[in-house]
């Protein structure tokens, strides 16, 4: 029982991490059709902000976490303002290349000005301790990760359903031009989307750093690749799909590690991606994705 619960929490916490990052990708994509591969660098910015804070002698984990999250929000808004806004109306490929460009610039900045090699960052190490919960031993980090992710998703849901800006964002995901015709400023809606994606990435970054205990310039790459896969599984651009895809990926990964014999553990990713390929053959639009409806003269 203990073992099953442990594996469940493992899967759920990985899933939560993927879901947080995937949600950030999806919210930007749903609004402006941009696959933001520089999203990983937003995670790196949060982590390096934490690193610099330690350097100047501030080491209260709560303070460091809040500053790291604030840094990723600012970073995301800055990316949008400096890099993505000028190419907003350009073809999709331009946005994608811009994202890669931003990613390369930021990675190399950390590489040049900090270090190309991993640097230890144990500030959130305290989260790795085990706590007793109703007689069961569980990792604090996993509990927090699952709890915070669910809270963040709920808060986002309330924002999208209850606030006028949230309504506008839901409407804009469907039809941006019509929302502009209702007088909503495109810049504000998009900047808000980037801020939200930065916030979610910042939260994820705290958990990622807590788990690895170190930082390095390309640390955001793998998480974003996984999140991208999560988005594809769930249906690209669907926010519910991003969350669902993240958790599905987490559970499939952990499930396969359990099923595969120890000696074949290295095949985990190969098996995972084969399963995803099969899923996409059956449902090319992802689990929750719907086919794009065209047929509008004005598009």
């Amino acid at each position: 029982m203990d073992y099953a619960l442990q594996q469940f929490l493992n899967a759920a916490s990985f899933g939560a991490e993927y879901a947080l990052i995937a949600l950030g990708l999806a919210i930007v994509f749903s609004l402006m059709g941009l696959v933001n591969f520089a999203h990983g660098e937003i995670i790196a910015i949060a982590s390096y902000a934490a690193f610099f804070l330690i350097l100047v002698g501030i080491d209260n984990p709560a303070v460091v976490a809040l500053v790291a999250i604030a840094a990723s929000v600012l970073g995301a808004i800055l990316f949008e303002r400096v890099a993505f806004r000028p190419v907003r109306h350009a073809p999709v490929a331009t946005g994608l290349l811009t994202a890669f460009g931003v990613s390369i610039v930021v990675q190399n900045a950390f590489l040049l000005f900090v270090s190309p090699r991993p640097r230890p960052l144990p500030v959130f190490g305290g989260l790795n301790r085990t706590v007793e919960l109703g007689g069961l031993k569980v990792q604090l980090l996993q509990l927090l990760e699952i709890g915070v992710t669910l809270a963040a998703i709920s808060a986002l849901l309330v924002f999208l359903r209850r606030s006028t800006l949230g309504l506008a964002m839901r409407a804009a995901a469907r039809d941006f031009n019509t929302v502009r015709l209702m007088g909503l400023r495109a810049n504000r809606v998009i900047a808000t989307a980037f801020a939200i994606s930065g916030l979610l990435a910042g939260i994820a970054a705290v958990f990622i750093v807590a788990r690895r205990g170190s930082i390095e310039p390309d640390m955001g790459f793998m998480p974003v690749l996984k999140a991208f896969v999560a988005c594809v599984i769930g249906g690209f651009g669907s926010l519910g799909g991003a969350v669902l895809g993240g958790f599905v990926l987490g559970f499939v990964e952990v499930g396969i590690l359990l099923v595969l014999p120890q000696s074949m553990g290295g095949l985990k990713d190969a098996v995972v991606f084969s399963l995803i390929a099969l899923l996409l053959v059956a449902r090319p639009q992802g689990i929750l994705g719907s086919r794009v409806e065209l047929g509008d003269k004005e598009r």
């Binding site: 006028t164 309504l167 839901r170 469907r174 502009r180 015709l181 007088g183 909503l184 495109a186 004005e298």
Partner: protein, 239 residues
């Protein structure tokens, strides 16, 4: 006063609009007719800011509003509906309207306070449908919600692109009454596009006729009806 001054727009080699002039005064209902491909929707797209004109400009109370993006036009006080419905189908009727009402509260608070949206909803016969998802409504009801959503901007001018499309005669007669009532109560100037000449002739005080991107006639319903150029465009040249 909404003035369209010498507006031209080309798509590749096709001249969709060729130096079109049009003026609509406050509380005036102006009709825009013409055969398919005459440039009617292009003109509405230019006025509402979705398209930037290649030449000429659109002025609202003397200020140029063209070429600055649709949100500026909407905030300046021009609302529109669409020939192809463009409601937000996953939002409720009320939420659709709320997206526009929010802009009105921001840009023209006095009017937004004075606007009784519940009464407007009832006036268009949609009372009771507020909490339904807009995508589930009938075609005609969706058209009415589009008008309400545009009206929630508290605009000075409304552009209605084929508001009676898909409605039967009784429904379009009711719609004409509702449009006149909106004009009377809010002093809104309107440009109404429609294929249904009967509907347009009965509703509009002035009518402009577009053909091949040019304005070929303008005047009262009587004048336009007897204009030989209009007859030629609609019935073909006499053999």
């Amino acid at each position: 006063m909404l003035e369209i001054r010498g507006v031209s727009k080309s798509f590749g080699g096709l001249k969709a609009l060729d130096c079109v002039d049009l003026a609509v005064g406050p509380a005036e209902i102006s009709g825009l007719i013409g055969p398919n491909g005459a440039g009617k929707s292009s003109l509405v797209n230019v006025i509402s800011g979705l398209l930037a004109p290649d030449g000429g400009d659109v002025r609202l109370e003397g200020r140029v509003v063209s070429g600055q993006g649709p949100e500026r036009v909407a905030r300046a006080g021009i609302g529109r509906t669409f020939q192809n419905l463009r409601l937000f189908p996953a939002l409720t009727v009320l939420q659709n309207i709320e997206v526009a009402a929010q802009t009105a509260r921001e840009c023209r608070p006095d009017r937004a306070v004075a606007m009784d949206l519940q009464a407007e909803i009832a006036a268009l016969g949609l009372a009771g449908a507020e909490q339904l998802d807009a995508g589930t409504l009938s075609y005609g009801d969706q058209r009415r919600v589009e008008i309400l959503r545009a009206l929630a901007l508290c605009p000075d001018f409304l552009l209605l692109d084929e508001p009676a499309a898909g409605m039967n005669e009784a429904e379009s007669a009711m719609l004409a009454t509702a449009i006149r009532s909106i004009r009377d109560r809010h002093g809104v100037g309107l440009i109404v596009i429609d294929h249904d000449l009967h509907f347009i002739m009965g509703l509009c005080e002035r009518i402009a006729v577009l053909d091949m991107g040019r304005k070929i006639a303008e005047g009262t319903a009587q004048e336009v009806r007897h204009d030989p150029k209009v007859i030629e465009v609609y019935l073909g040249a006499p053999a």
